[in-house]
């Protein structure tokens, strides 16, 4: 392939495609302001996202980011190491671009009566750009900028239903919590910079020795960085925005935030902690193993998310809490890093995020479909939907059982591998046993509320008469594709697992 002959900066092509699409949407809007040509807008967005996906997959196949020792083209470093394109970058860019495409297609129907069409799509594209940039960011500065680039359009997207009180309120809360968290994050960056004198991640790692005198300072800085990541991934105690924002936002945006944005939050957390703060060197300076913080956060997050989800009556809110629970599962990837086999645990967490991207997007898109139909928000309102919409409800069953981790669906395999790797890591880090136990208990509990939804749509009788349900093409297509991807993730699991494990190994390497 001809990748080598291209200039280095083209390695950022996926992000560039996103930004180009966003600009293209602005151009369309300036030529024809207030256009409501939904096919053109949603189509452009979807094509842009798929183009980004295509480029990413092409890079992966061509060997960009694969170490030269393994026959690849090597990791690409740009702008003096401010950005890096390796396997982990491409892996997460894949997740982001697929979710973006699904959301764009689903929005075609969901946002049909909306006034600000082109703004909506361009904001999605800009947020996606931020997420793609997060996957590649390799310096605390670029990390912060990418994070804000993803966050700011998100606030607007959550609040985009301007006539809807819930949407506006959610947007404001999201923004306020986001501002607080960004402040903490930025303060953390300044402390790290103060202790080590560097912002570029490898440089921080190289200069940890020099920070001996500022151990406490560095530790506080790291903890504040954790706060920033916890906000982006909706982990405890920075999760408060999530149920409100997901519930108030348009459902496709909830899907987008809870899947793509969360995955992007994890990629920067993975990169910063594996690259800038190698466990042993950092422990020597700050006096404590930072994985301890993640052990606590993982257990608390998954427990809180699942317990709160169990008692919800509102489907969208239940999914919001379940998404917090899944953040807890993914945090195990960082909690296990100090143990032998930590890279396997992190690989497993990446796999889980990958599969989660499809099944969670699908679940929220089903909610989008239900909102489109106007059937209501609670479990009771969903009763008996399967009689009128069997295809969509079959897909919902796949999403729910996959989220709960029932074999043979993709969610089972990722959770199973995560569990076995966690047990494997427990040999050198006893705390991982507790984490593994929490994982199992919470998964068992999660089956309760996931199957409750399946039972509602398939088994219960409708509580009242309902009109015939429309079959919006875009939403249906997005749901079916997500379901197919969730199922196909099973036979394709080998390559996904390999990709995730390799990416994790290289990142830690």
């Amino acid at each position: 392939m001809a990748v080598l002959e291209l200039p280095q900066w083209t390695a950022l092509a996926p992000a560039l495609v996103f930004v180009a699409t966003a600009l293209a949407l602005f151009v369309i809007d300036s030529i024809n302001p207030h256009t409501r040509n939904r096919s053109l807008l949603a189509g452009t967005t979807a094509v842009g996202a798929l183009a980004a996906l295509g480029v990413t997959v092409w890079f992966m196949l061509a060997g960009v980011g694969t170490p030269t020792a393994e026959g690849g083209l090597g990791v690409v470093e740009l702008f003096g190491g401010q950005f890096v394109v390796d396997q982990m970058t491409l892996f997460f860019t894949t997740v982001v671009s697929i979710v973006t495409a699904l959301v764009a297609v689903a929005s075609y129907d969901y946002m049909a009566d909306h006034t600000y069409q082109s703004e909506y799509y361009s904001l999605i594209m800009l947020a996606a750009t931020g997420m793609a940039a997060m996957a590649a960011a390799n310096s605390l500065v670029t990390v912060f900028i990418a994070l804000e680039l993803a966050s700011l359009p998100s606030y607007a997207l959550v609040a985009i239903l301007k006539d809807n009180r819930g949407s506006v309120e959610a947007g404001l809360k999201y923004f306020l919590i986001g501002a607080l968290s960004s402040a903490i994050f930025l303060y953390g960056i300044s402390l790290v910079y103060g202790a080590t004198g560097h912002l570029q991640l490898e440089a921080i790692a190289d200069n940890l020795d020099g920070a001996d005198a500022y151990g406490g300072l560095l530790g506080l800085g790291i903890l504040m960085l954790i706060g920033g990541f916890a906000y982006k991934t909706a982990s405890v105690p920075f999760h408060f925005w999530a149920p409100e924002a997901y519930e108030g936002a348009p459902a496709p945006i909830s899907a987008f935030l809870s899947s793509a944005s969360k995955a992007a939050g994890f990629v920067i957390a993975f990169r910063v902690f594996t690259t800038a703060f190698p466990v042993e060197a950092t422990t020597a300076v700050i006096g404590i193993d930072w994985t301890t913080a993640f052990v606590v956060l993982a257990i608390v997050t998954m427990t809180l998310g699942n317990f709160a989800a169990a008692t919800q009556d509102n489907v969208k809110r239940m999914l919001a809490y379940s998404s917090i629970g899944h953040a807890g599962y993914a945090l195990i990837g960082l909690a296990g890093l100090s143990a032998d086999g930590g890279e396997l645990v992190m690989g497993a967490a990446m796999m889980h995020l990958f599969v989660y991207g499809f099944m969670n997007t699908g679940a929220f898109l089903f909610v989008a479909l239900a909102e489109y139909w106007g059937v209501g928000r609670t479990f009771e309102d969903y009763n008996g939907l399967a009689r009128q919409a069997p295809v969509a409800c079959a897909a919902l069953g796949i999403f729910m059982f996959s989220l709960a981790g029932i074999p043979p669906l993709g969610g089972f395999w990722s959770k199973y591998i995560l569990f076995t790797e966690t047990i494997g890591a427990a040999g050198t880090n006893g705390a991982m046993l507790v984490v593994a136990a929490a994982l199992v208990v919470n998964s068992a509990l999660s089956l309760y509320y996931y199957s409750r939804l399946v039972k509602a749509v398939w088994i219960e009788d409708p509580i009242g008469e309902r009109d015939a349900l429309a079959q919006p093409i875009g939403l249906y297509a997005a749901i079916v594709v997500a379901a197919v991807l969730t199922v196909v993730a099973l036979p394709a699991f080998g390559p996904i697992a390999d990709a995730a494990q390799q990416a994790a190994a290289v990142a830690i390497g």
Binding site: L176, S181, G216, L223, P237, F238, L304, A308, A310, Y448
Partner: protein, 680 residues
């Protein structure tokens, strides 16, 4: 010839196809599924004969092929293996080839017989019947050529399922479903131990193959030679334990004491089904399994002695019960239990050839007797009580003479087939018994049983066919057609001459080389070295003795058993071969009640179920309802309560969130800072 082996899977697949056809199209077919069944079993028979020829004439003389691996993985075996595979494969050696012929022949004849016994009698539900027969035959044939223990177990279970379906064929009566359930549950009880045995063998040796370098038999022999410990036991003790666990399944299926109680009840099924169950499939499966993995049992003298003793005891025990039965099929049922006891005795004393020989002969004469009794039942318009028969001899000569041949074989009268094999079993038991007191006791029981066998057999013959007709139906019996007569004639000839296969005593006396079955099982015509008679015989740890010379012992034994058989037959002749026989059972006094009640075996097993198992099950249920369910309900209440609390934190007021967020962050900071010493 070798290429023939490639068609081996078809032997079992033909009847499976017949099953599918009968199930799918049965109601529309002219004979409701009989024709496909006959064609399929006929095809299996021809192919089995071809296999027999291929084994005899081929260069390798056996066929061992893994067809399908359905699970493979890394698992450490106790003896140090590191991987295990579960496969479907085919093993056709002399033993399997012989058994394939027997099973497919009997199945074929039973299908033909059914044309008249079932179709002509206007039974309903025939497609179901033929589907059941097809599946039954398929399961048994696949079991016979299974090349590993797990596959054998699966088809063993399938055989059990089919017998359940067929015994309960007349499911609208009260007794048939109950008998079917009983057969299923009792054999399942034995199979439970079998399953544990399979798991134990797999876990110990990391293989479940019957034959070849990596068979569990070879691994067990090597382990015993090493003298190491397996699961905390001596290697030999462990082999005994696992062997006995597998034997649990054998005792259930082959109706050995104490799990024999299902078999007499199983007479509720159609007589053709009884013929198939008793001669070639279900009951034969147990003994065949012992023969199949004989190399394994040969390693353990304890297991062998237990097999021999259980066999000898069952032979006598069942024969005494057969003496007082009035129903013709009941007599045959107890004779089956008794005869399989002989086979177990033979195998248990290391008489591999004798056991297999009797398995073969028994298949022929018991199929003959059951089909003959089926013919009698047709003659008698579905009357089975022997006291209502009599004098059928002249009215149905073909039935009579073939039945008589079967009876002579069963009773062990020279020169009919049963004599030769039973004599060989008793001879093998005697020579081992001279050195081992326990085996001597087993031999003695087997010997006494010969007398009872002669007695009940001829009591049955005389009551049914001789004397004056005692009812109107016996005066004017229904006629029977070729579909009944032809199978009877074929089996009658076989029951008479099958003994020629292994005239061991004659061979010993004259020195002529005519013990063909022994050569066959010894691999002289082809076979696997490790699975041959002399290889087993070297392994079997029993000493052999003799009274005087070997020939004297043999003549003495043969004379004794023949004398006892004749004595039994003549006693029956004296008591029942009179124009109007009367019951003599009162003379037995209290013993009659005991025999009539089958030694209260059913009663104590029912008591075990109701008096012991039921209270335990109730207690377990109560435990489940209160403790387990209570704990589960408790967990869910706690979860929901906790979830409710968590939900309340989410108050909707953003300032609260900010406060909680910062509080959480500070809590984390204090903990980590304290642990990391940041505040110093």
């Amino acid at each position: 010839m070798e290429g023939l082996f490639d068609y081996a899977p078809a032997i079992a697949l033909f009847p499976l196809a017949a099953f599918v056809i009968a199930l799918a199209f049965g109601p529309k077919l002219p004979k409701k599924g009989a024709i496909p069944g006959i064609v399929a079993t006929g095809g299996s028979l021809l192919l089995s004969l071809a296999m027999l020829a291929a084994v005899a004439g081929g260069e390798e003389g056996y066929y061992h092929e893994t067809l399908f691996t359905w699970a493979a993985g890394d698992a450490a075996g106790e003896i140090g293996t590191d991987a295990i595979e579960f496969t479907f494969g085919i093993l056709i050696d002399p033993l399997a080839a012989l058994m394939l012929v027997i099973v497919s022949l009997v199945a074929f004849l039973v299908h033909v017989f059914s044309l008249e016994y079932m179709n002509a009698e206007g039974e309903t539900g025939l497609p179901r019947y033929y589907a059941g027969l097809g599946l039954f035959t398929f399961s048994m044939l696949a079991f016979v050529y299974a090349d590993n223990l797990l596959m054998a177990f699966m088809f063993f279970e399938l055989v059990g399922l089919c017998s359940f379906l067929l015994i309960g064929f007349w499911f609208r009566t009260r007794s048939a479903p109950s008998a079917a359930k009983k057969a299923f549950l009792v054999t399942r009880f034995g199979d439970y131990f079998f399953l544990i045995g399979v798991v134990a063998i797999a876990a110990t040796f990391g293989t479940v193959q019957f034959a070849g370098e990596d068979s569990f038999v070879a691994a067990a022999a090597a382990a015993i030679d090493d003298g190491g410990q397996l699961f905390g036991f001596d290697a030999e003790t462990w082999v005994t334990i696992t062997g006995l666990l597998v034997l649990g399944g054998v005792i259930g299926k082959s109706a050995q004491f104490p799990l024999h109680t299902w078999l007499p009840d199983a007479m509720e099924g159609p007589t053709t089904v009884s013929a198939l169950i008793h001669a070639a499939t279900m009951v034969a499966a147990g003994v065949y399994l012992v023969a199949r993995m004989f190399g394994y049992y040969a390693l353990s003298p304890t297991a062998l002695a237990i097999i021999a003793f259980v066999g000898g005891f069952t032979a006598l025990f069942a024969a005494t019960m057969g003496v007082v039965k009035d129903d013709i099929k009941q007599v045959l049922a107890y004779s089956t239990i008794s005869q399989y006891g002989y086979m177990m005795l033979g195998l248990g004393v290391g008489g591999y050839v004798a056991g297999v020989f009797h398995l073969m002969n028994h298949a022929f004469f018991k199929a003959l007797l059951f089909l003959g009794s089926g013919a009698v039942i047709v003659l008698m318009h579905h009357e089975q009580d022997m006291w209502k028969m009599g004098g059928l001899k002249d009215k149905a000569p073909v039935t009579y003479y073939t039945f008589l041949a079967g009876a002579l074989a069963l009773a062990g009268i020279v020169p009919f087939s049963g004599f030769w094999s039973k004599d060989e079993i008793l001879y093998d038991a005697l020579i081992v018994g001279l050195e081992q007191p326990l085996i001597m006791a087993a031999y003695a029981m087997g010997l006494i049983a010969v007398f009872f066998t002669g007695f009940y057999t001829f009591r049955m013959v005389f009551l049914t066919f001789h004397g004056e007709p005692r009812t109107e139906t016996a005066e004017d019996p229904h006629s029977v057609g070729w579909a009944i007569k032809a199978p009877l004639l074929v089996l009658g000839v076989l029951a008479t001459v099958a003994g020629l296969a292994n005239l061991a005593p004659v061979a010993k006396l004259t020195g002529a080389e005519i013990s063909f079955l022994e050569y066959w099982l010894d691999g002289e015509y082809g076979g696997l070295e490790a699975l041959t008679y002399h290889s087993y015989h070297e392994t079997v740890p029993f000493e052999e003795g003799a009274i005087g010379s070997e020939t004297t012992t043999m003549l003495l034994g043969a004379g004794l058993s023949l004398g006892l058989a004749l004595a039994g037959a003549f006693t029956a002749h004296a008591l029942y071969n009179v124009p109007s026989p009367t019951r003599h059972t009162e003379k037995l006094g209290g013993a009659y009640d005991v025999l009539r009640s089958n030694y209260y075996q059913d009663e104590y097993q029912v008591w075990l179920a109701e008096g012991l198992t039921l209270p335990v099950a109730r207690a377990a249920d109560r435990f489940d309802q209160t403790v387990i369910d209570g704990a589960v309900d408790g967990v869910s209440s706690v979860s929901l309560f906790g979830g409710d609390r968590v939900k309340r934190i989410q108050s909707g007021i953003v300032t609260n969130y900010a406060a909680l967020l910062v509080a959480g962050f500070i809590a984390l900071l204090i903990v980590l800072g304290f642990l990391g010493g940041w505040f110093l």
